[in-house]
C-alpha cells in the first residue's frame, strides 16, 4: 500500500451538516496545505466551529468528504481515526477542555500517556511545554483551579506536545488579554512553523485572523470569500 500524500493537510469537499433544525454547513469545501496557516472567520453561527470539528474528525458530517493528511476519514474505522487524531492532530477547543481532576502537568502529558509513552518521558515533554507557555509554576495545580487564560495556555501546550502535523484551534486566545493572546499565538505559530505543520485558526478576532496566510470567511454555512494575506 502506498503512503498517503500529506502535502494537503486538510481537505473538506462539499461538506454538509445540520443539527436538528439548524443547517450549519452547506457544501463547504476547504483545503489547507502542509505548513499553511488558514484563518476561518465569520459571524457567530456561520458554521466555523462546526467546520473545525469536522476537520478534526470529531464530528462526522452528514455529507461530503473529509481528508486529513491524505486519508479519507470515511475509509478509517474508529480506532484508526482516534490514532490519527491523537498522533498527528493537535486540537485546541474554545474552552480548553482539560480534564478537571488531573493536574496541569498530567493534562499536557495525557496525549503521550494515551499513546503508550512511559510516565517519565511523557511528563518530561509536558514540563518543557509548560515552560514554553509560562505555566511551569502551575504544573501540580488541578486544572479545575486554573483561570480561563491559564486553561487556554495549557490546552495549547497539550495540543503541541505530540508535535502534530496539523493544529486546529477554535478561538485559541479568546480568554486572554491582548498581550497574553499575542504571546500565545506567537508561540503556537512558531511551534507549527518549526515542524511545517498546517494550522487552522477559527476566530472572530481580526488581529488573530491577520496572522494567517489565508482567510476563509464563512457566511451562513458556506464559504463566502477567500483572501490571500501573505
Amino acid at each position: 500500500m502506498t503512503a498517503p500524500n500529506e502535502d494537503t493537510a486538510i481537505e473538506l469537499v462539499g461538506v454538509e451538516h445540520a443539527y436538528r433544525r439548524t443547517v450549519a454547513l452547506r457544501g463547504v469545501s476547504l483545503r489547507v496545505d502542509a505548513g499553511e496557516v488558514v484563518a476561518v472567520t465569520g459571524p457567530s453561527g456561520c458554521g466555523k466551529s462546526t467546520a473545525l470539528h469536522v476537520a478534526a474528525g470529531i464530528l462526522r458530517p452528514q455529507g461530503g468528504m473529509v481528508r486529513i493528511l491524505g486519508r479519507d476519514l470515511a475509509d478509517l474505522d474508529e480506532t484508526a481515526r482516534t490514532l490519527l487524531r491523537r498522533r498527528r492532530v493537535g486540537i485546541v477547543l474554545q474552552f480548553g477542555q482539560l480534564v478537571p481532576d488531573l493536574t496541569v502537568l498530567d493534562n499536557v502529558a495525557l496525549p503521550l500517556l494515551l499513546d503508550g509513552y512511559d510516565r517519565f518521558a511523557a511528563r518530561t515533554a509536558a514540563r518543557g511545554w509548560l515552560v514554553r507557555v509560562g505555566l511551569d509554576g502551575e504544573a501540580d495545580t488541578p486544572s479545575a483551579e486554573l483561570s480561563g487564560g491559564q486553561g487556554q495556555r495549557a490546552a495549547v501546550a497539550r495540543a503541541l506536545v505530540t508535535g502534530p502535523s496539523v493544529v486546529l484551534a477554535d478561538e485559541p486566545t479568546g480568554s486572554l488579554d491582548t498581550v497574553g493572546g499575542e504571546q500565545l499565538l506567537d508561540l503556537l505559530l512558531a511551534a507549527a512553523r518549526e515542524r511545517g505543520a498546517a494550522v487552522v485558526l477559527v476566530t472572530h478576532d481580526n488581529v488573530v485572523a491577520s496572522r494567517a496566510d489565508r482567510e476563509v470567511r464563512l457566511l451562513d454555512g458556506h464559504v463566502a470569500t477567500e483572501a490571500v494575506l501573505r
Binding site: P43, N206, S210, L229
Partner: protein, 179 residues
C-alpha cells in the same frame, strides 16, 4: 495635524537642527508618514515667528550651514498645554473607505466587491505590521493604535457588509442602525 507640537516636544529634549528633528519624529512614529524636510523647515519658521522656538546656534561642520533651534518658555508652555488637553474625540474627516461605500450605495452600485477587497487589504496590512515587530515599547504604542484602528475599520466593514446585504434581500429595510 499636530506636527508643530510634536517638533516642540522633540526639542524639549535639547536644542537640535532640522535634520535631527525629522529623524527623531520618524523614529517616534515608525508606521506613520515620514516628515518631509520642507515641512520641517517651514514648521520651524512658523514656530520661530510665533516665538515658540528660537535660533540658538548656526553651525557649519564642513558642510552646509545648519541652524540649531531650542524651545522657548512660550513654546514650553504651549507644548505642556497640548500634552494635557484632550484631542477631539472622533467626528473629524470621513475616512475614504466610508466615502467609497456611501458613494457606491448612493449611485446604485454594489459595494460588496469593494468591502470584501478592503477587508483583505486591512488584514494584509495588519499581518505586515505583525511581521515587523517594533522593538521600542514606546514606538510600539503608536503601532498598537494603528492596529486598533485597522481593527475598528474591519468591524465597520463587517457591519457594512451585513447591513448592505440585508438591504439587498429586503429592499424595504433602510441601510442604517436600528432604533
Amino acid at each position: 495635524m499636530s506636527t508643530p507640537e510634536v517638533l516642540l516636544a522633540v526639542l524639549r529634549r535639547g536644542p537640535a537642527h532640522g535634520y535631527d528633528l525629522k529623524r527623531d519624529h520618524d523614529e517616534w512614529f515608525p508606521d506613520g508618514r515620514p516628515l518631509a524636510y520642507g515641512q520641517v523647515y517651514s514648521t520651524l519658521a512658523r514656530l520661530e515667528r510665533d516665538g515658540l522656538v528660537e535660533v540658538v546656534e548656526t553651525r557649519t561642520e564642513g558642510g552646509p550651514e545648519r541652524t540649531v533651534y531650542a524651545v522657548t518658555e512660550a513654546g514650553e508652555a504651549h507644548v505642556q498645554t497640548w500634552l494635557s488637553d484632550p484631542a477631539p474625540a472622533g467626528g473629524g474627516s470621513t475616512e475614504e473607505i466610508v466615502r467609497k461605500a456611501i458613494a457606491a450605495l448612493r449611485t446604485g452600485a454594489d459595494p460588496a466587491p469593494f468591502l470584501v477587497a478592503q477587508r483583505a487589504a486591512h488584514l494584509r496590512r495588519m499581518r505586515a505590521l505583525a511581521d515587523e515587530p517594533v522593538a521600542d515599547p514606546v514606538a510600539g504604542l503608536a503601532r498598537d493604535h494603528l492596529v486598533a484602528h485597522l481593527d475598528a475599520d474591519l468591524r465597520w466593514l463587517d457591519l457594512a457588509v451585513a447591513r448592505t446585504s440585508q438591504a439587498t434581500t429586503n429592499p424595504a429595510a433602510p441601510v442604517g442602525g436600528t432604533r
